[in-house]
Every structure is written in structure tokens, then in C-alpha cells.
Symmetry: C2
Subunit: 166 residues, 2 copies
């Protein structure tokens, strides 16, 4: 598990904390890719879930990481798959209104969250990320055929912009 950003300098804009809870190296791989694309990324932690899962220990790690990234604006937990162990364990934190859980983690939603988390509150950020993640799932052939007939994929413009900055 790794966490950064728990002790930000005074005057830094508050932002929603982000926690990636996923099987094996998935969380770390997404964080590394976000850094490859955006540069420095802070206030994000990862929890790796490996078989055999010691649920109590993983729950402790999730709770510890949640506290580390929470700057008072709550924490968005991203899990790799609805129905998976990382998701099921994360859902137990939803009793706290300062936590939201979004499943089906993909790269577009991570970049969208990192670009938006100083601007919008937790619940709205979760909705925006869900929409962005879903819209980024596209069939390449359909995109090319739309492009040739004059269509486009407006929804993914922000992710293209993000990568252009690298």
C-alpha cells in the first residue's frame, strides 16, 4: 500500500481524496500510468488485494489509507470490479457519507477524477467519473465509421486533452 498527500502545505486547495482498491497490481499500475500522463499526482493511495484474502487485514488497510487521503472533502474509492472482493470490502465503508465507491475502474475515470477533484464535491465527482468511464468504452471500428460519416466522440475529448499534456 502506498499513500501520498496526507500532509499538504497550507494554502493548497482542498480536494477529494482518491483510493484505488483492486486485485494485485491494478491500482498501482493505474497510478503509475496517471503519473506517466499527468506528471506528479498526490493525495492518492492504493490497496492491493491478493489471494488468499485476509479480509480483516485488507479492511484495516483500506480504512488507514482512507484517513491518509481524506483532506476534509471525503474520499472516492475506485474498485476494479463490481462483485469482486476489493469492491465488496470497500462497500462496507459506505455507512460514512464522506465515502463514495465507484466500480469498474478504468483509466479515463482516473484521469477525469484527478482533473476535477478540486472543483466538485464528492458525490458529484463520483457521478462525473462514472459517466466518463462508461463513455470511454468504445468499439474502435464504430468510432472510425462514425468519423468517416462526420460523427465524433465528444465525450472523450477531455481524456485526449489530458494525454496531450504529457
Amino acid at each position: 500500500m502506498s499513500a501520498q498527500g496526507s500532509s499538504l502545505p497550507r494554502g493548497h486547495a482542498e480536494r477529494v481524496g482518491v483510493l484505488l482498491v483492486a486485485h494485485g497490481k491494478i491500482g498501482e499500475a493505474f497510478l503509475e500510468a496517471a503519473r506517466q500522463i499527468l506528471g506528479a499526482v498526490e493525495g492518492v493511495a492504493t490497496v492491493c488485494v491478493r489471494a488468499p484474502v485476509a479480509e480483516e487485514r485488507v479492511l484495516e488497510e483500506i480504512e488507514k489509507a482512507r484517513k491518509e487521503v481524506d483532506q476534509g472533502r471525503g474520499v472516492l474509492i475506485l474498485t476494479d470490479m463490481f462483485g469482486g472482493t476489493p469492491c465488496n470490502l470497500s462497500l462496507t465503508l459506505l455507512g460514512d457519507r464522506q465515502v463514495e465507491v465507484l466500480t469498474g475502474l478504468n483509466l479515463a475515470m482516473v484521469l477525469k477524477i484527478l482533473a476535477s477533484r478540486e472543483k466538485v464535491p464528492l458525490a458529484e465527482l463520483a457521478q462525473i467519473a462514472r459517466q466518463c468511464g462508461m463513455e470511454n468504452i468504445c468499439l474502435g471500428r464504430a468510432i472510425l465509421e462514425q468519423g468517416m460519416s462526420g460523427g465524433g466522440q465528444e465525450s472523450s475529448a477531455s481524456t485526449r486533452d489530458a494525454e496531450r499534456r504529457k
Copy 2:
């Protein structure tokens, strides 16, 4: 880059090949997670794209990996983000009707593909995976509230089943 399954024993059911093309370790992390959940996984290759990207070399890697996993039923290329470099390079292979590209890679779509690729042809598999990947992106709070009011998430039953087998 790693590839397996290019020389299957005779009599083995033919299946659609799978290629994960993504930033950094994302592809490898998904393949490792799929193995953690399902056990052995063959006929899947990964191509890692790191900055600075040598596009010509990456394209050669993608083409080589595509050939390795193609067993005559085509190859489904999964990329991490629409608009990203791994996606843009993969889209150049779409001139071949035996290739489909699906963007916005998440774990549910990978497991769905691995469970279905001996049963359905390439184009249909890509559509099914897209649908599964999108349906798996859920807000935890909405699921819990639906559950409490008697609703459910039928769409994700297959991914829950997949993980139960681990």
C-alpha cells in the same frame, strides 16, 4: 511483452485471441488479476507502452503479438483509454477485418472475454465485452439503495460468478 498460447495442442477449441495494449504495467496487471481469479489463462498477450513512445517499435510489438495470439478466429485488442497512444496505435490495425479494438479496459470486460471467446465470433465478442464493461461501472451507494428497495444488478452476475471460482 509476453505472449502465450500460440502453439495449442490439437483438438483444443479455437478461440478469439486477446491482446492488451496499455500504458505501463496496466495490461500485465489485468492479466495477473485474471489469473488470480480464473487460474491459468492462455492465448493472451500484453504490450506495454511507456513514455517516450517509439511508435514504430510499439507498432511492431503489437503486430507480432497479434500474430502470436491469433488462432484463426481473429484478435480482440483491448486498450486502456480512447484517445490514448496505445489506442491510437492499435486503431491502425483495423484495416484487417480479423481485428477489433475495444477501449476503456476494465476487469469485468477481461473476465467476460476470457469466459466467452470460444463460444462467439470476434465482432460479437467485442460487443458483449463493451456492454459488460459499461454495466460494471456502478456507484456503490446506488447499488446498496437499489438492493434495499428490492432491485439488483443482473448484468454483473457473471463477474461475481467468475470470482467465486477462484
